[in-house]
Symmetry: D2
Subunit: 282 residues, 4 copies
């Protein structure tokens, strides 16, 4: 309970790392892991620190002092106890391979996030949700009820106090407005190695093109479909013998592990938006 | 010297494998490795066999008999002594990482092909060619001399009796006519994980898009640029710290190993064209 | 329901492939996938064929004829309908990551095997078993009751008509007698890249040695601990920052996917014992 | 020419990172990349910084000040201009696949090290050395002349002012004395995934054991054969069809890329000894 995660981003400049590290040291805090990166392209500096506080650590004082530093450096930052895991609302349609993997890691305490609820436009996910004793909300979507359904989603995010949303093979496209509202806190899994095979049926596309590797990409959702900042990707080799169906089976394993990896990285505060790219301190 | 490679393709039908295997068995030949595949999509059957012949193997008689079988089955086929390696003409521009890898494997006798000559629109490759005691031909290309240069290339292919052409980072686009002439016997390396990042400067495109893996693709050249049947692909993980230049460095290693793998597979007769895809019996 | 899997092994000799392929072709069967391999080392030949039977396929006649061929060739063989999945009994101790993965694939119909029961020397697995509506048997083991417990296991294998046993992180060493009884039909997952780090606490061993990759191995159980024929292996990169605990977490993912892969390959009849090695037609 | 690499190691304690970062910031230096790690196991802290100096950077003053800091923190450290590459002496026996890869990267300026000479107990390497216009020294070794040969090696290291030695498939075991002299500055490539298959003929051992992945390990040489701290490892999948010879061919590619990676990491100062393990800031 004495572990904290500090993350900060700022315009790059000489001495930022020294400022942050110095502040932490003067507070008598013991750094467990620290990672930083200055991007010469975007002229942004990013830092992620996990530290351990001694007895009698005064968080309010620490924060007040850091605020002064942050102002000087035009830094955006946040601090949280490691144990206070961010709250995630999971959305899913019929395919539950990603959901299964998220729930398994959640049960073991390894996901990094607290799952608040499972929301679906189908009833299929209820089975898994109940087995894991998690709230399940059926929110059907038709062309006519899409905006209504999104309002219900907004309400659920509020009610469950969810910090971010995970689209774990949720097959409805979110409206531009909702995409903007959830910027940087909505993670999707796309079942191809983006930017290859955007759009529908990527395994059929991959089979038709005869690629020798298939993949999956976890990315932040933006209004621009399949163009959001990529958090994690992985691939597996395939060959001529595989049908699109067999490819999709192999692909489901890749999707599950890539999405879980992205969710954990995000939940631990290790992902920073850096223009249309990400910085991931894994 | 008693090892042979037989390859055949035909419309798929019951009993083809039995026909081929039976013919080889009746000839008293010892199969070292055999691979086959029937594609239900394209309704094509492919078979690749390496066998060892006993003393007094009569190749002419074997071929005559197989011709009859091939006619019955509408089969296209070829037979060659394993030791009679196909002859490859290598084309390169300035970047010599693929060339270096091909020449190294060639020197060790592991490439599967006999390199006949190195052709380049720059003088840079001469250094390596001379060190390996291989003919080097400088064939400069300008917008006005492109067709002339291609005629010179045709002449070199003929004179060197080359069976196929390897574009080992050759940065000129071949004319549609030449692409068609060389169909199925001209291999290119593209420095991205196709179909991502077609066209120029793929590492810059990859860096800009913030992908977490970069790759390379070896494919047969077609008139449709970067759309030819893929033979081999591979990737390596990258992260936010890498500049486009560092990505390109890592990419060069991927390119070299992917191209060499494709060249060896082609040279050993293990690659079949199957519509816009390939069958690769590795 | 008209799909069959035929597997056979025999002393290698000219014409075996032709004999088998010819027999299948004369029976008018349509080959979906066929793989074979002759090992010059052990002088053994292995073949695996999936075929589709036409209406009115007479299995008894097919088997009688194949028996004659098998006798001539000293072949051991088996035939089964693809839909008649082998029955697997799963054993587990406390760590349920492999169990979770097996149950998930089982539920989706992708495991290739029918799970008959879950047996454990701890009560922890009951939670998952019940959620998947599968029988759970608690069979505690102490030094004094080990043989008794193994008798109970034998009885459970019989009663559930299980074809093979999966040790999905079962932490008790089976007696030599039981190992011999289950030869070739008991699969274990070892949490290291064998033959590295045999024995206990392999992740601690790996951390101490400072390896840069950790792995897992699925193998058939033999009386010789951690020395059985290997079916599948995989690895993931690690670095200096990982504690043994974090390594174990990463390792659990590798273990789960390696064991599931081995179980599916075995269940589909794709694995052959070949001395102290295996042939795996994936 | 204004880029520098600073590396330091010290007993771990609160504020070290702040001290170092603060010192660099106060000197007005622009950090390009910085990595650090505190090992709670060994209670050691490691830091690696690449920085850019402004015009008029006074190295002597910087070093004097850093010395004071280092004394306070019991730090061992070093500073060098990035352009002043460490000098490497390469030793090789007959197999030249690693040598070829090192020379290729050296020629392109990507190795990170300056190759001073190639030393071999066979004449085979002379061909490559000459083509790259590098000094070649033939130092034959017999049981009786081993110590003499090592004296000649010591002399060559001195004369060429080499900073470290690379055993690029050098098949002679160094004496305990020489191992100790070269501690932390002699890198060997072992052709297995250590600690599997120590000793001779690892590919034959791997084939016999039937592993499904083969690998290679680059490590610092110690008197304890094949037990030195590991710098880099990699693997490739293999299957039942591969003979030990084919495995060795595949293995040579792994060896070459693993050794080059380790040499570059060492040359760039990114590798720290940490007991019997290493910290590698890649």
């Amino acid at each position: 309970n004495s572990r904290y995660i500090l993350r900060a981003a700022a315009p790059d400049a000489i001495g930022i790392l020294a400022d942050v590290a110095g502040y932490i040291a003067r507070a008598g805090l013991n750094v467990i892991e620290s990672q930083d990166f200055g991007d010469s392209d975007t002229a942004r500096f990013f830092i992620w620190v996990e530290f351990e506080s001694p007895d009698g650590f005064d968080r309010a004082t620490f924060e007040a002092g850091f605020n002064a530093l942050a102002e000087k450096r035009s830094m955006t930052w946040s601090l949280r106890r490691k144990a206070d895991r961010p709250r995630a609302l999971i959305m899913v349609s019929k395919g539950d391979h990603c959901l299964n993997d998220l729930l398994y890691r959640h049960r073991r305490g390894q996901l990094g996030a607290e799952i608040t609820a499972i929301v679906s436009n189908h009833e299929d996910g209820r089975w898994l949700a109940e087995r894991h004793e998690l709230p399940f909300h059926y929110v059907p979507v038709t062309r006519d009820t899409k905006l209504e359904a999104e309002d219900r989603l907004r309400q659920l995010i509020r009610e469950t106090q969810s910090d971010f949303v995970v689209l774990a093979r949720y097959m409805q496209v979110l409206s531009d407005g909702l995409c903007r509202e959830l910027e940087g806190r909505c993670i999707n899994i796309h079942h191809s190695f983006l930017p290859s095979f955007k759009g529908a049926k990527p395994y059929h596309q991959a089979h038709k093109r005869g690629v020798k590797l298939i993949g999956a990409s976890a990315h932040y959702v933006t209004a621009d479909l399949d163009e959001g900042p990529i958090i994690a990707q992985d691939v597996s080799p395939v060959d001529h013998r595989l049908t699109p169906q067999r490819m999709a089976e192999i692909g489901r394993d890749i999707e599950a592990r890539v999405l879980s990896r992205a969710v954990t990285a995000h939940a631990e505060g290790r992902v920073f938006l850096n223009g249309i790219r990400t910085v991931v301190f894994e």
